[in-house]
């Protein structure tokens, strides 16, 4: 449910002119809901940024999410995998 919730909030922000990117843990939900920019991560529920007390990994996830924000050639909806 969390995956859909953040996507719906993000869509409203995007409608107001804010550039949004959502992290998604369940790819089939991202495909069904279609947030403008989504980064799918291969982690269990509860661990969207990978692992606690691992700032380096958390920064890698953030960098991948922000790369979607900076990608001017992307066409909506964008769903990319974090690998």
């Amino acid at each position: 449910m969390c995956n859909q919730t953040v996507s719906l909030i993000g869509a409203e922000m995007e409608r107001r002119g804010i550039t949004t990117v959502v992290i998604q843990l369940l790819r089939h939900i991202a495909r069904a809901v279609r947030p403008p920019r989504a980064l799918w991560v291969p982690y269990p529920l509860g661990y969207p940024l990978g692992a606690p007390d691992d700032p380096a990994l958390q920064h890698r996830v953030l960098a991948a999410a922000l790369a979607l924000v900076e990608d001017q050639a992307a066409e909506p909806p964008v769903l990319r995998d974090f690998l």
């Binding site: 449910m1 969390c2 995956n3 859909q4 919730t5 953040v6 996507s7 719906l8 909030i9 993000g10 869509a11 409203e12 922000m13 995007e14 409608r15 107001r16 002119g17 804010i18 550039t19 949004t20 990117v21 959502v22 992290i23 998604q24 843990l25 369940l26 939900i29 069904a32 809901v33 279609r34 947030p35 403008p36 291969p42 982690y43 269990p44 529920l45 509860g46 661990y47 969207p48 940024l49 990978g50 692992a51 606690p52 007390d53 700032p55 958390q58 920064h59 953030l62 960098a63 999410a65 922000l66 924000v69 900076e70 001017q72 909506p76 909806p77």
Partner: protein, 160 residues
């Protein structure tokens, strides 16, 4: 990797019949400035609050769609887990809230100059919203208004 088989049988049966809300048309607002000049705000659905804030109410039918304002200078160490869902492992969030609400990490991004600044207000939701009517009608527009007021350029939204 997150799998729905991590979930209880009852919840899986519910999800199987659930009709996901499709965003259509997909809105699109490209970033009109360099990321290094952009202000970034966080939205997390991990149900985190500050001490003294009202907790989320898991008794609300269809889900508690309210949100709490988390100041941009709050540290992860002061965030408290109020998410009632048993569909995910809370251990990680309780050990380091940055794993679902990376408040410390985005301040580091601002310190490094990767982003221009951190929003004065981040937003905390509890994501177990099965009936998102109130969310899309009331709370999401109110949340968007907070970020518009604060001139947020980029919103990063994190489920749990």
């Amino acid at each position: 990797m997150a799998q729905t088989d991590e979930l209880s049988f009852r919840y899986r049966a519910f999800l199987k019949a659930y009709r996901w809300r499709r965003i259509d048309p997909v809105p699109w607002s490209p970033l009109g400035k360099p990321l290094a000049a952009a202000r970034l705000g966080l939205v997390s659905s991990a149900g985190l609050t500050l001490a003294g804030q009202d907790g989320f109410d898991s008794g609300v039918r269809g889900g508690d769609t309210s949100y709490r304002v988390i100041p941009g200078d709050a540290t992860a160490a002061v965030l408290e887990d109020h998410h009632r869902s048993e569909s995910f492992d809370h251990t990680g969030v309780r050990r380091d809230a940055n794993v679902a609400f990376p408040v410390d990490r985005v301040r580091e991004l601002a310190d490094r100059g990767t982003i221009g600044s951190v929003a004065p207000r981040h937003l905390s939701f509890m994501g177990s919203v099965t009936a998102p009517g109130r969310l899309t009608r009331d709370t999401a527009p109110a949340a968007a208004e907070v970020f518009v007021e604060d001139q947020v350029d980029v919103a990063l939204l994190v489920p749990v």
